[in-house]
Amino acid sequence: MRVENQIENGTDSKKSNGLSRMVYLMAPFIGIGIMLILWFSASAANPQAFPNPSAVLLLLYDLLFHPLSGYTLLGHVAISLRRVCIALFFAMLVGIPLGILMGWSRLMRATVGTLFECIRPIPVLAWIPLMIMWFGIGEKAKIIMIFIGALMPIVVNSYTGIKLVSPLYLDVGRMFNASSQSKLLLKIVLPAALPTIFAGIRNATSMSLMVVLAAEMLAAKSGLGFMINRGMEAYNMTLVMSGMVAIGVTGAMLSILTNMIERRICPWNSHTKSE
């Protein structure tokens, strides 16, 4: 079978000639290249609205050594990350067991589950004014907001992961001496649900990045969101873009890290294989 696939996806000597292969190799660079050219020209015309890309990179480099409002670039990154990580940790601590219980126990689903379903449709950012009222604008408030944002996907995915366990595995469990509720849950259902739970954690991570930005843009003295906000107040679009690039890179790194962890813990899961 695999040989046939190779043949299908690979080169059919007479059809694909050197030209089409070249085109596909160059295509991604062409796309990015055109965008860069357009950006550079727009920036030359209107440097205020379109900060020069090289200026953005220079500023990022500069911020590595020269602090902005007391922190260097890495300092701001660390601060935002710290908020995200603390919130994520608690979200997982609370959310995963909660989701699992909701998926496993009918009673939990009926009680806590319905309550959860009522709260879920409210977009996280809508909680901000309430949070500010209750917890002010300090560190605690920001972390709680991120916590709420991260909690939803973790609970939903944990719950779904449990519910979607193939009945075949449950039958296998029952036929092979794992028919008690606790054994089924621990030995069959949880491992089977792990990949979905990880998907929830990944969602929660990107959600957390979004919320931390929002929280920092509103009321903060440090962090990447604060950096962007600073740029906006000073009409310094270069700073704004630097913040965007910094967040993009941070998000990508977090994503890679989560994938690596998942590949360690769930080596059997097909989508994390490097095939």
């Binding site: 039958d171 296998v172 029952r174 036929m175 059997w268």
Partner: protein, 256 residues
């Protein structure tokens, strides 16, 4: 078979229906099925489609309960999942997060059997199905045929009194299927057990079964019971084989 064989499994008047919803009438799946299974025989349950036979198998395994009637193994009634019954599933059902060895030793592990003992047991059967060397692989790294061999090893490792196989080769391609049929004959010869094997393939039934119980299509009822006295391994081009194939085929309900 002249000498009386011990009855291992007895099904009496099994009936089962499924409720679709409140409006449509119940979907009757099995209607008044009774038969016996003898010690160490390879019994094949044959019938068209998937209707009834798999439900019957699940009832025998204790995964489903019948609406009417009873099933007993060695005199004891089967009321729930019974670890004395080893099952091979059509979709194999290997737990993807466990290695081949961990999958095979799963039954004994859940029963609390010590590591050395259960691994020895599992290794014996993995060797028997020709998978020694693959102990540390994960299911996703195996082909369909190999996965099912692990499924068979897993069922045997649980030291069951009765083996139930639910169309285990149904999802395999023709060549693999043929190889697996020969293998299961080989294994059944080396490790004598009472085996109940479900299939919808007449040739497979004739190649494997000591006795074949032919079912109708839904609702499943016993149409006929055939005793196959040909020596194994059987030649599918032999006259008597073809005659039996014709006889059974004429007797099967054709679902167009």
């Amino acid at each position: 078979m002249e000498q009386p064989h011990k009855v291992r499994v007895k099904l009496e008047h099994i009936s089962k229906s499924f409720k679709n919803n409140s409006k449509s009438p119940n979907h009757e799946v099995i209607r008044d099925v009774s038969f016996k299974v003898y010690d160490n025989e390879f019994l094949v349950l044959l019938g068209p489609g998937r209707c009834g036979k798999s439900v019957l198998l699940n009832i025998m395994a204790g995964l489903l309960t019948a609406d009417w009637g009873s099933v007993s193994l060695d005199g004891e009634q089967i009321k729930g999942p019974n670890p004395q019954i080893g099952m091979v599933f059509q979709k194999t059902g290997l737990l993807p997060w466990l290695t081949v060895m961990e999958n095979t030793e799963f039954g004994p592990k859940m029963r609390g059997i010590g590591k050395t003992e259960r691994q020895k047991l599992a290794q014996h059967f993995l060797n028997l199905v020709g998978l020694d060397g693959y102990e540390k692989n994960y299911p996703y790294q195996l082909s369909g045929g190999m996965k099912q061999r692990v499924g068979i090893a897993r069922a045997y490792s649980n030291e069951p009194k009765l083996l139930i196989m639910d169309e285990p080769f149904g999802a395999l391609d023709a060549q693999t299927r043929y190889n697996m049929q020969n293998e299961i004959l080989d294994i059944a010869k080396k490790e004598k057990r009472t085996i109940i094997f479900v299939t919808n393939n007449i040739e497979e039934a004739l190649l494997l079964g000591d006795r074949i119980i032919l079912f109708t299509s839904c609702p499943a009822q016993i149409k006929n019971i055939y005793e196959i006295n040909l020596p194994k391994p059987r030649d599918s081009m032999q006259k008597e084989f073809l005659r039996l194939r014709r006889e059974i085929s004429d007797n099967t309900d054709l679902a167009l």
